[in-house]
Amino acid sequence: MSDEPQSSRPGNESHPTDGPEHAECDPLQDSKAEAAMVARERFGPAGEPVRDVSDPERKRMNRRELLKLVPVVALGAFAVPKFQQGLLDRGLEFGDWASAKLFGRHRLAETFRNNDVAPLSRFPYNYYDVVAPEFDPATWTLTVAGLVQRPGEYNLEQITALPKVVQNTRHVCVEGWDVIGNFGGTRASDFLRAVGADLTARFLEVECLDEYYESIDMATVLHPQTLFCYEMYGEPLAPGHGAPLRLQMPTKLGYKQAKYLDTIRVTNVLKGGMRGYWEDQGYDWYGGL
């Protein structure tokens, strides 16, 4: 609907009859009339100032106001192919910065009763290459590297020996769907402490058996609900869900929760172009909920 004030305020003055028409040929009288007009300031129904002006003056006024709006045209830079991707990338970076600021280290994701959990057969999973990469459960180990006191190979028994956490939490996919599942595993923070990781480091990088890769901010890694997950619904992880070990983080989108873990690395520097499989193609790096 248009912005169109439509009424005259009571007492509103109409055109003064001794106005411009009479003053037309007499500059002196013109300025007098103008002075009189200023003295009797008029307002429209919404209190907007109303003036009688000459046409060139009106054009000058319009031009001045038009120029003030020119900064809006800067938004058009988003339509310029040369600048577009750079601006959109800055937008994602700003969103990631805001996300990290919003993240509460001790704020827990909602947990659910067993009745609310979707059956495993209705727990979807996405994969990018192969449904389930091949590995030998007898010889599989998690390679731990980077800023840790005890780097090396850790097998599943060493991981499951740590305190086990079971939680019913919501898994949210960047596509927009969500599902409540039951997950069991060891807290990532417990495991990192056990291997003597530098917990002041900035990132945890992970590489997967299917050559998927990810990197997570340390604040999220140390969140109490972030698990190295080896069980769903009380059973060892099924192949489609990331056997033998996956990340499970109810404070992150699904694409951050890497499956089929092979190597983890504690680091302060992310390798360029290796921030995450989907992130390197245009998804936001933080991916937090």
Partner: protein, 229 residues
């Protein structure tokens, strides 16, 4: 020759009545917000294509798949990039407008109040059923107030539900308020539908009221406002 000079002189001294209808802040918020809301709708529909449903993933029942011709971004990540870049312009312009209206006192002219209810139908009859134009009583008629107030409401609703869809854990209290993640996604979509309705009505009215009225939202000045006749 002399007659030409006369005409020019006459043109330069002829006086026109202009009213400063739209303050700079309102025009700035209008145009930034207008661009932003279109980008948000188009990129939001691109995002919706990735999961065009409000139910579970298994089994998936599609609600509506937006046609490629009206979406922005090319694929899910592209849609997200546009959505996440322009949400700041969207929220910023909305906040600027609301704060300005509150501080300036102009909200009184725009905010739809219970007493405006009875005036809506006569305006609808006038615009769409060729009814008689109701007597003018205020800066904005009741239908305008309803439309502008609804647009602000959709802006608030889409922002709050958008925060839930973006950060359901951090804004857990908003998640509770909107009945959970999935429900907030429904309300987020509904607020978009509200905006589409508003925009269609708004553009029809702009077309009906002509260039002079439209131009006043650019420069602020309306030439020869009808209420000064």
């Amino acid at each position: 020759m002399s007659s030409t000079v006369n005409v020019i002189e006459r043109k330069q001294t002829e006086r026109v009545t202009v009213a400063y209808e739209h303050p700079f802040v309102v025009r700035l918020a209008h145009w930034v917000g207008g661009v932003a809301v279109l980008v948000m709708i188009a990129s939001g529909l691109q995002i919706f294509i990735a999961f065009p449903s409000f139910g579970p993933k298994i089994p998936q029942q599609n609600f509506w798949i937006p046609p490629k011709s009206i979406v922005l971004g090319g694929w899910l990540a592209g849609g997200i990039q546009w959505h996440f870049a322009f949400m700041w312009f969207f929220m910023g312009s909305g906040l600027l407008y609301v704060v300005y209206q509150a501080v300036s006192g102009h909200w009184r002219q725009v905010l739809f109040m219970p007493r405006d209810i009875k005036g809506v139908w006569p305006m609808v009859r006038h615009y769409f059923l060729f009814g008689k134009k109701p007597p003018v009583e205020a800066a904005y008629n009741p239908l305008q107030k309803l439309a502008y107030t609804a647009a602000i409401f959709f802006g608030v609703l889409s922002t709050l539900t958008g925060l839930v869809v973006w950060k359901p854990v951090q804004f857990w209290w908003l998640t509770v308020l909107f009945g959970g993640f999935r429900s907030a996604r429904v309300w987020h979509f509904a607020s978009m539908c509200g905006f589409v309705l508003f925009i269609v009505g708004h553009l029809i009215m702009v077309a009906l009221h002509g260039w002079n009225n439209f131009y006043s939202m650019i420069t602020g000045y309306k030439r020869g406002p009808e209420y000064m006749d």
